[in-house]
Structure formats: structure tokens, C-alpha cells
């Protein structure tokens, strides 16, 4: 347990160090830069904002984590997020109920949108055995163009100078208290539910075992094809929920490129978290710290915020490689110690 924490922390520090070297080479002051970065996202007044921004990261991260741990290689979070966002937006444009009903309704619509899109991939696999690994990627591209069309034509706001929809009904906006957006509460609830399903339920047990060894699970009497569909729908719904919350907490309308920022973040977070649910939450928040802080970093130190994109990828590579490397390293140390005991 301690070792696991150590591996993650060391990996992240190594990646930050590498980033620092890049900054040094280009004549920036790394300490100042990192200070500004973390100050901007973690200062007392800012942390609520950073938390709100972590919502889509954590939700798409959980979507990818649950999928990967259970077997399906669902890489479709970007498309599922967009479809969820579109569904919530459409609901918000045509329906108006009191907030207590409206918010849950839009959230359900968002989940339906995401599940619909992942469901397409699931059925393609179920009926025709088409690998979800490629189909979800292609469906991402298709969702991208489809939603772009939707905000250009049927749901286009007249007189706007770039593609976007009108605002959704105000009753569907996620309440906000100063910097704290209530979408965080939804995220925490979703986290609790997912943690419980994965760690306590029969289904979670079967998913995990199927993800590790699907043949063994099948022979054990587990209905792996049914579980596959359920996992695809659930993870699609999670990504869709992320999309709905992006709309309902943020611009309250569908703007072009809204999902672009989160495109691969979910997959990255799941990988760096080794598909653990708690680590997904931690890294989701950490990536939000980096992304939010990058704005402040750019404002004050003139280091372009795009550097954070590089840094995120480097963190993934180093932490994951480190995990494997440390394991063999510790095993070797152990062997050498035993060796000495015997020859002594």
C-alpha cells in the first residue's frame, strides 16, 4: 500500500522535474512557474473552482477505469460526453420544470445520451463481434461532426456569430455558491455509487474477474456478454453525465468545441490510476489542478499553458512505466536479500 503511494508520488515528481528542465532550457524559472500554477488552482479562494473543473475529468476517468477494469476497451468517452451534453442541452431547450425536477431530468437525459452512444458500440460487438476499441474511436469522430451539425442547423442560435445553441432554461442550471458549483455534489454521489458497485456488489466482482480473465469467468458461470453490455452502458452513461454537467454548470449552452478539452483526459486518468476508483478521483483532481493552474501560470509567468498538455502525457508515461519498473526492482532487491541470507 505504502509502496503504491510512493510509486505514484515519485512518478509525478519525476514528470514535474522533467517539465522543470524544459522550462529551464527555455529560460523560464521553474520554481516560480510551479508556484504560480499551484497557487492559482489551490489557493483557498480557488480550490472550489478547481474542484468544479475536476467534475468532467473524474467522471470520464471513472468511465474509462470501470470499462478497462471490466474488459471493454471503451475509448469513446469523448463522443459519449458530447452526446450526453447534446441530450441535456436539447432537454434544457424544450422543457421547463421546477429546478428540483429539472436538474435530475436533464442529468438522466445526459446519461441516456452517453449510454445510447456507447450502446451502439456495445451492440456492434454483441451482434457482429466488432471490436469496441475501433468502433468507439470512430464513433467519437462521428459524434464530433454530428453535434457540430446539430448546433449549426437544428439548434442553432439565430444571430450568433459562431455555432452555438441558445441558453437552456435557467431551472436546469446547476446551482452555484460563489465558486463552488453543485456539480461537484453529483460527482461525489456518482463516485460513491461506482465505488460501491465495484467493490461490494456481485456484479462488480464479476466485472472485475471478467476483466482479468474472461474465459475463467465464463467457465465459472458468469454471463459475460450480458455484463459486457451493462458495463458499456454504464460507462457511457458516466461519460454522458460528465457532458450534461459541463453544459449545466458552465456556459449553459452547447458551444462548438465544448468537449475538446476533455477528449482523452478520461482515458489518461484511468491509465495513470491503473483503473483504481479512488486513484481515479485523486488523479482527476490533480489533472484539474494542473489544467486550472495553467491559466494562472500563463498570465503571470508567460509560460504557455499548452505545456500542461505535454506534462500530463509525461506523467502518464512515467507513472505507468515506473509502476512496472518498481515492481521488478523490488522483486530483485528481495531476491538479492534472500541470496545474501543463504550464502552468509
Amino acid at each position: 500500500m505504502k509502496r503504491k503511494v510512493l510509486v505514484n508520488v515519485v512518478g509525478v515528481l519525476l514528470a514535474l522535474l522533467l517539465g522543470a528542465l524544459v522550462m529551464l532550457v527555455q529560460g523560464y524559472n521553474p520554481l516560480e512557474t510551479y508556484y504560480r500554477l499551484f497557487e492559482y488552482s489551490l489557493a483557498p479562494g480557488k480550490i472550489a473552482y478547481t474542484l468544479s473543473k475536476s467534475v468532467p475529468l473524474v467522471l470520464t476517468g471513472m468511465s474509462a477505469s470501470v470499462a478497462f477494469a471490466s474488459g471493454p476497451i471503451n475509448l469513446g468517452q469523448p463522443g459519449q460526453l458530447l452526446m450526453g451534453a447534446l441530450f441535456a442541452t436539447i432537454g434544457g431547450l424544450y422543457i421547463n420544470l421546477p429546478p428540483l425536477l429539472m436538474v435530475p431530468l436533464l442529468l438522466i437525459l445526459a446519461m441516456l445520451g452517453g449510454a445510447l452512444w456507447s450502446g451502439v458500440a456495445a451492440l456492434l460487438k454483441y451482434w457482429f463481434n466488432m471490436s469496441e476499441f475501433i468502433t468507439t474511436l470512430m464513433l467519437n469522430m462521428i459524434a464530433d461532426f454530428f453535434t457540430y451539425w446539430a448546433i449549426n442547423y437544428p439548434f442553432f442560435e439565430k444571430n450568433a456569430n459562431h455555432p452555438q445553441t441558445p441558453l437552456i432554461a435557467q431551472s436546469g442550471w446547476m446551482p452555484e455558491w460563489s465558486n463552488f458549483n453543485s456539480s461537484v455534489i453529483v460527482m461525489v454521489l456518482a463516485f460513491g455509487v461506482i465505488w460501491f458497485i465495484v467493490n461490494r456488489s456481485t456484479a462488480g466482482y464479476e466485472w472485475r474477474l471478467s476483466g482479468q480473465n474472461s474465459l475463467f469467468s465464463r467457465l465459472g458461470g458468469v454471463n459475460t456478454s450480458k455484463n459486457y453490455i451493462v458495463v458499456m452502458l454504464l460507462t457511457g452513461a458516466l461519460a454522458g453525465l460528465a457532458g450534461g454537467l459541463v453544459i449545466m454548470a458552465g456556459p449553459h449552452r452547447f458551444i462548438k468545441g465544448i468537449g475538446g478539452n476533455y477528449a482523452w483526459d478520461g482515458v489518461m486518468i484511468a491509465m495513470v490510476a491503473n483503473t483504481g476508483i479512488i486513484l481515479t478521483l485523486v488523479f482527476g483532481f490533480f489533472f484539474s489542478v494542473l489544467q486550472t493552474g495553467s491559466l494562472g501560470m500563463e498570465l503571470i509567468t508567460a509560460v504557455p499553458r499548452e505545456l500542461i498538455q505535454v506534462l500530463q502525457a509525461v506523467i502518464v508515461l512515467i507513472v505507468v512505466a515506473g509502476r512496472g519498473y518498481f515492481e521488478t526492482f523490488f522483486a530483485k532487491v528481495e531476491a538479492r536479500r534472500k541470496m545474501r541470507e543463504r550464502t552468509a
Binding site: 470512430m138 461532426f145 499548452e306 508515461l317 512496472g324
Partner: protein, 297 residues
């Protein structure tokens, strides 16, 4: 007649980068590597190609830089997946994102722009007129006057075919994929073969990238590989790596892409842009249904 030559030329143009990247993927496929990093290699190639051409006002330097940029990504892949034995899939995803990050960061850092950079200083790769043939009506318009990279792609198909099936390297390459311990116990390091297949994949993806930024357009824009690496991966999987098959599949994708442009007269561009991705799904569908008859456990 004009429509048809236009359609065919459009097909060749869209097929070229996919073909080149897929040939690279074919080499790593035979070597038994689950390589999904073509997207990132191609993107890096496109950026560095533009950079080289811009600084040296020379397209050959552009091509050279494109190749070096893609090889750089291949080397990172080698470091993580071969040396550190990290999961190839995670390495590939990480590398693709790294490539997106690095190119946007450098675009911002070097050229102080976001989104895209175009300049008259960037020298495009020339089109080649073939004497005699260019004067033949219709056929001349297709066979002659294509971009240099198009001819290189054609040549690359033949070279990769020869390399895989007729050379010592090819025998070892396929052995590395079929049964790597067999190759290792034969006294040839399978890892060395894998490293070379990745570097060659880098070269081919670099060429594909140079075609993107110096071929049919002369600019670099963020994420301009736009999923072509994934489509080429699908092509490789569909034909189990066979170079000739890859050429045919790439032309098919090129054709649907051209068809999409053609359909723009009657459909919103968002739908026509979807065509290559839908075509990939359709191709995968045909492949899977065929395979499904071979029931598996």
C-alpha cells in the same frame, strides 16, 4: 470526365497519408507490436516537416525533418514499450497525447500562434510531371502531376512488400511476430527486430506527416492528423498487415473521402466529413462478419 479525374485525384490524395502510415503499421504488425502510435508519429512528422521547410526554405529539409520528428516519437515508444516493457497500448495512447501536446506547445512557443500556422516561407513538396505520359489525355492527368510523396508511397508499398516477404530482415520480422521466443532462441534478438520495425514505421509515418503539412496544404494546424492514424490502424488490422491489401484498403478509404467531398453539393459538410469514419465502421463490419463465421472461444 473532369469529375472522374477529380474524384480519382481526390482519392489518391486522401489515400496517400493513410497508405504510408499503414505501411509503417504493417511492419510493426508483423513484428508483433500492438502499435497504435501512428497517429502521434504522423502528427509530429507534419509539424517538424513544416518547421524544417519553413526554416531552411527547402522542401527536402522539410521531408528530412518530418522523418526525424516521427522517428523521435518512435524512439520514445521504444524507450517505454521495448526497454521499460510498458504496456504497448498505454504507451501508444500516452505517446499520441504527448505528440498533440508537444506540437501545440511548440506551435505556440515558436510561432506565437494558436490553432494553425501558415506562411509563404513554407516551401511545399512539388508535384512531379512525368514526360510523355503527362500528354496522354485523362490517364496523363492521373498518372502524371501527382505530388512527389504520392510516388514515394507507391514505391514504399513495393519496398515494404519486398522487405517483408523476400529478405532476411523480413523472415526475422515475421518470426518476431509469430513466435518471439523462437527468434530469440535462434540467436536473433527479437527486441532488436522490434526496434527496427518501429524506426521504419517512424520513417513512413514521417513521410505521411510531411504530406499533410507540405503536400496538399501548406500549413500546420493542431491535431491535423485527424484520426488518420487510427484509420490506418484499422486498415492494417483488416488485411492482417499485408502491404498490397493495405494499398487497396487505403484507396478505398481515399475513394470514400473523395466521395464525401463530392456529396457536399447536397449534404451539410458535417455529414460528408463523417464518411471516412463510417466507411471504417463498414469495413470493420464486413471483416467481423466474415470472421464471426470462424467461431471462437
Amino acid at each position: 470526365m473532369n469529375i472522374i479525374t477529380g474524384l480519382i485525384n481526390g482519392m489518391i490524395t486522401s489515400a496517400t497519408p493513410i497508405l504510408l502510415a499503414a505501411l509503417g503499421g504493417s511492419l510493426t504488425y508483423y513484428a508483433g507490436i500492438f502499435n497504435i502510435a501512428m497517429e502521434g508519429m504522423m502528427l509530429s512528422g507534419a509539424f517538424f516537416g513544416m518547421l524544417g521547410s519553413y526554416y531552411f526554405h527547402s522542401w527536402p529539409m522539410g521531408i528530412l525533418f518530418a522523418i526525424l520528428g516521427a522517428i523521435l516519437m518512435a524512439l520514445i515508444f521504444i524507450l517505454f514499450a521495448v526497454v521499460l516493457k510498458m504496456d504497448e497500448f498505454i504507451t501508444g495512447i500516452g505517446l499520441n497525447l504527448f505528440s498533440v501536446g508537444v506540437t501545440t506547445y511548440m506551435l505556440r512557443q515558436i510561432f506565437k500562434v494558436k490553432g494553425a500556422f501558415a506562411s509563404p516561407e513554407i516551401v511545399p513538396i512539388p508535384k512531379i510531371d512525368i514526360p510523355w505520359i503527362k500528354d496522354i489525355p485523362v490517364v496523363g492527368e492521373i498518372i502524371s502531376g501527382q505530388n512527389l510523396i504520392v510516388y514515394i508511397a507507391l514505391l514504399a508499398t513495393i519496398v515494404v512488400s519486398y522487405l517483408v516477404f523476400k529478405t532476411r530482415f523480413g523472415l526475422r520480422l515475421r518470426a518476431a511476430g509469430y513466435n518471439r521466443t523462437s527468434l530469440d532462441t535462434s540467436g536473433v534478438s527479437a527486441n532488436r527486430i522490434r526496434v527496427w520495425s518501429l524506426i521504419l514505421c517512424g520513417v513512413l509515418c514521417g513521410l505521411a506527416g510531411s504530406f499533410l503539412s507540405l503536400g496538399y496544404v501548406t500549413l500546420f494546424s493542431e491535431g491535423m492528423s485527424a484520426g488518420r492514424g487510427w484509420i490506418s490502424l484499422a486498415a492494417v488490422i483488416l488485411v492482417s498487415g499485408n502491404p498490397t491489401g493495405i494499398a487497396l484498403i487505403s484507396l478505398l478509404f481515399g475513394f470514400t473521402d473523395g466521395l464525401g467531398l463530392f456529396m457536399q453539393r447536397s449534404l451539410p459538410s458535417q455529414f460528408t466529413s463523417m464518411v471516412p469514419y463510417v466507411a471504417t465502421l463498414v469495413a470493420l463490419f464486413v471483416y467481423s462478419v466474415r470472421l464471426k463465421k470462424k467461431q471462437k472461444i
